[in-house]
Symmetry: C2
Amino acid sequence: MSDFGTTVVGPDPLAPWRSPLGRALHRNRSQPHSRYVQLATLADGRPSNRTVVFRGFYDGSNTLMFVTDTRSAKVADLSPGAWGELCWYFTQTREQFRLAGAITLVTADTVHWGLIQARQHRWEALSAASRQSFYWPPPGDLRAEDTAFAIPAEAVAVSTPPPTFGLVLLQPDWVDHLELRGNPQTRTQYQRQSDGGWQVMAVNP
Amino acid sequence: MSDFGTTVVGPDPLAPWRSPLGRALHRNRSQPHSRYVQLATLADGRPSNRTVVFRGFYDGSNTLMFVTDTRSAKVADLSPGAWGELCWYFTQTREQFRLAGAITLVTADTVHWGLIQARQHRWEALSAASRQSFYWPPPGDLRAEDTAFAIPAEAVAVSTPPPTFGLVLLQPDWVDHLELRGNPQTRTQYQRQSDGGWQVMAVNP
């Protein structure tokens, strides 16, 4: 389970995998797709997998943030206690991070003050083009007419996020970092301990 | 379930998603990572996600091939009847394919003649460097000494694949193709029918 059910999260000490992940983000920053990551969840007992955009860490914590349309199929997969695994491949430096952990979905109904603020701030940071999609016809439904996608600029220039706007948090419990460069490759695993600390292990690639 | 349990697969008619996927592979071919794809499976009831390398289609069929080390954690996830979902993002053309379907693991114990041949051919097609990893100490174990990774070239120049060499097949049942270029984006879903045909639907992005 995520910490968000019972306690206010953060500030946490920086987890030991944050430094290599931060370095990878920096070294691959010239490529916009370096912030694209694949999120696997469970849907009716089967794995489901899609690309999401990394939106930074939740205030002072090691928890990753993404945004989603609450009408999308993945939201049905994100009931309380849901688990997810991110697979993040950096094409320039040729390294992969896998991050597994509890998922929290933050919506207009969320009552946690810090999470309400985080959702608000992520909405404010979105471009007008990105905001538009939250006013489009429901994702995955039979294709609507083109006119249904013409959202006036004024409509999205609101400071309150629409109910379709969700924030997805993933709090890693286990991280696997594989660097393909080098022979043999370098692989490091990080396991969160019950006291909140991390065990770090060099393992075979 | 996969077809491989009971029948010999292929040649199949080309599925309607093969043409857009082939086009994406062609247009992104200058980037080696265009053949890297994220495979989600289930591990002890939780989603698991890692990058695999696309190795082509199984003889005359719409089934995708990957190779794996049979000692890796994902093999434990690939019991008969296992399901997987691939998420394939093409960075150059900015499009995503999600492909969900039954997974078949082909090992030294497999008795299906076509699959034995496919495994043999994939081994023959591997570079010496890629072959070496199948002789390394078990993936995920505590890091062994460097000398354990020094595999002589002669050792891997064998025509018979070692027992650690596995072939992973994924036979898509459902495909979702999202093209990010354009506003609104284009999204098409393909659903396999019980007669083996495909239903094609334009859906909202």
